[in-house]
Symmetry: C2
């Protein structure tokens, strides 16, 4: 078991992808008017790419066009003080090809938020890191 400098267990790439695949909500981290911004979104994986469904005019759509974003999922148990987190860093793009949009629309990805959300943001899983926090004993 590999530990990082903070004493957290370093998760393998395969474990990170498995945890990502099992999580319905993640947080997209981007820059909004030169300030750090973060927004929770429901998502699904398309292979190892992260797919988010939003509205074409949304702040999120505008802020994540052709830029590098981070995407984080986690799960913590406040009583046991244990948990894990996985962070992806990669290029985000809007799906523009009609054939790709049709394919993405068939994914099991129903927006939680109201309104028509037929704009797809795809984040390439370029860097993946994950950590697990356990307690001794």
């Amino acid at each position: 078991m590999k530990l990082d400098s903070a004493g957290l267990q370093v998760l393998s790439y395969e474990e990170c992808i498995r945890l990502l695949a099992g999580c319905p909500i993640g947080r997209i981290v981007f820059t909004d008017r030169a300030l750090p911004a973060v927004q929770p979104v429901n998502f699904c994986l398309d292979g190892e790419d992260i797919v988010i469904r939003t509205t074409v005019g949304s702040k999120l759509a505008a802020a994540t066009r052709r830029t590098v974003v981070a995407f984080e999922v986690d799960e913590f148990d406040p009583v046991a003080r244990t948990g894990w987190s996985v962070t992806v860093v990669g290029h985000a793009r809007a799906a523009e090809d009609p054939a790709e949009i049709e394919r993405l629309a068939a994914l099991p990805l129903t927006p939680w938020a109201p309104g028509s959300r037929d704009h797809f943001i795809v984040i390439a899983t370029e860097q993946v890191s994950g950590r697990r926090l356990t307690q001794p004993g």
Copy 2:
């Protein structure tokens, strides 16, 4: 009830602070080597400031010195597809005054991660926004 352009309920400042105060884990959003970065941390409030306890040599300590960061807490119910999130944006600083460090060390803030963590990061709650997602019916 005020809704934003995405149809989410806009939370009041007081509601945001109440939700922040009840959450043991948040995510600090910053820049690491020019890339967006995000890290879950346990925290507590000192008045309306966010206080995080880390090690002096950590990446987090280095990346959040005299800079603007975002800090996010949320809670979602994947079955009901409801939840809320609160995001703070503000200046982060390291506590350096011995009297302040002594005061912060007395807060009910025990690090979940192992190791000696006597370096305090304080985030000023300068901008606060919160949203709640409900489902009709």
